[in-house]
């Protein structure tokens, strides 16, 4: 999940989510960065609406309920 957290730091700060940026963040955290994972992240997030996902998380706390329904 570190790769996702890194992407969200950039998103929150209004910065572009690039390979360099993500690698820089994780590297600064002392993590051994897997190049391919970063590449895969960038490619995948290109088609993800992060703002939408964040909104969904606000009501997702109730994820428990569906099972009941």
């Amino acid at each position: 999940m570190e790769y996702i957290y890194a992407a969200l730091i950039l998103h929150n700060a209004g910065k572009e989510i690039t390979e360099e940026a993500v690698t820089g963040i994780l590297g600064a955290a002392g993590i051994e960065v897997n190049d391919n994972r970063v590449k895969a992240l960038i490619a995948a997030l290109d088609g993800v609406d992060i703002a939408e996902a964040i909104e969904k998380s606000a009501v997702a706390a109730v994820a428990a309920a569906p099972a009941a329904a």
């Binding site: 590449k39 995948a44 290109d46 993800v48």
Partner: protein, 282 residues
């Protein structure tokens, strides 16, 4: 291969040189499978790739020869040559390329024997056909066709083939006539050689839904941590206040602290407990 080289016609030598040049020029050298892609579709795909990647068709033997001459790691590309391979070059990384190739998929008409990737539905409405034997052909395929107002119309929307079913010759013919294109066709990546490593398609497919869900999870986790640790941010200040107030109320009711702000809740709790006992007694 020495014998081959000496007798190579000039145009072949040029082709080999060109392939070698492109392979050195671009960051990514790959092979895609063109099998089964109609020429018109291929044209469309090349247009879609413009600016992102370059497609180069060449004879497999010449491709083999080129990588043989280049030697080194890239020679391993030869192993993946198969059937109607074509070269693909790009400066993007393999993940981006794979995604781009997925995005350039188009739809084409079915051939007999194709499997329907999803339900094939013939929509209700008019067709361009003038009255004729086509009506019978459509009806035989199970499509409710009729003549109305001098035109052939489909009277009702009908699912003619279910996902996973095989499309037989008659159906393929009818769907073709109706210009219904149910088959996905795209450039299938066979291999990508990038920055000294080989990337097979299986490692390049990224599940966007999974990433979306992980972003949702990450946001939830961050929210939870911020509130539970009482570290206020613009996003969580309200929630933290809410939690503080709720906890205060809970304690007040549980301990029966008679204060104006919570006495209503205490009465409510008392009544609820009493009703519970009452239901046993009655």
């Amino acid at each position: 291969m020495a014998l081959f080289t000496t007798h190579l016609p000039q145009w072949k030598k040029d082709e080999v040189e060109q392939i070698k040049e492109l392979s050195k020029e671009y960051k990514l050298t790959g092979l895609v499978d063109l099998h089964g892609i109609p020429a018109s579709q291929l044209q469309q795909m090349r247009r879609d790739l413009r600016g992102n990647a370059v497609l180069k068709m060449s004879r497999n033997t010449l491709i083999e020869h080129s990588f043989g001459e280049l030697g080194g790691d890239i020679e391993g590309v030869k192993k993946y040559l198969d059937g109607q391979s074509a070269l693909i070059y790009t400066d993007a990384d393999p993940f981006k390329l794979y995604k781009k190739l997925q995005d350039t998929m188009t739809k084409m008409v079915a051939k007999a024997g194709d499997i329907a990737p999803e339900d094939i539905v013939v929509p209700k409405g008019p067709t361009a056909f003038p009255p004729g034997p086509i009506v019978g052909t459509l009806q035989q395929a199970g499509i409710p066709a009729a003549i109305e107002g001098g035109k052939v119309v489909i009277r009702d929307t009908k699912t003619v083939v279910k996902a996973g079913e095989e499309i037989n010759a008659k159906m393929a013919d009818v769907l073709g006539k109706l210009d219904i294109r149910p088959i996905d066709v795209g450039l299938s990546l066979q291999i990508a050689f990038y920055e000294g490593s080989f990337f097979e398609p299986s490692v390049l497919a990224v599940d966007e839904t999974e990433y979306f869900n992980n972003v949702v999870l990450a946001a939830q986790q961050a929210f939870n941590l911020s509130v539970n640790a009482a570290y206020p941010t613009a996003t969580t200040a309200e929630a933290i206040i809410g939690k503080a107030v709720r906890e205060a109320r809970n304690m007040a009711v549980e301990a029966a602290i008679y204060e104006k702000d919570v006495v209503d809740l205490i009465i409510g709790r008392a009544q609820r407990d009493a009703l519970a006992i009452n239901s046993i007694v009655e």
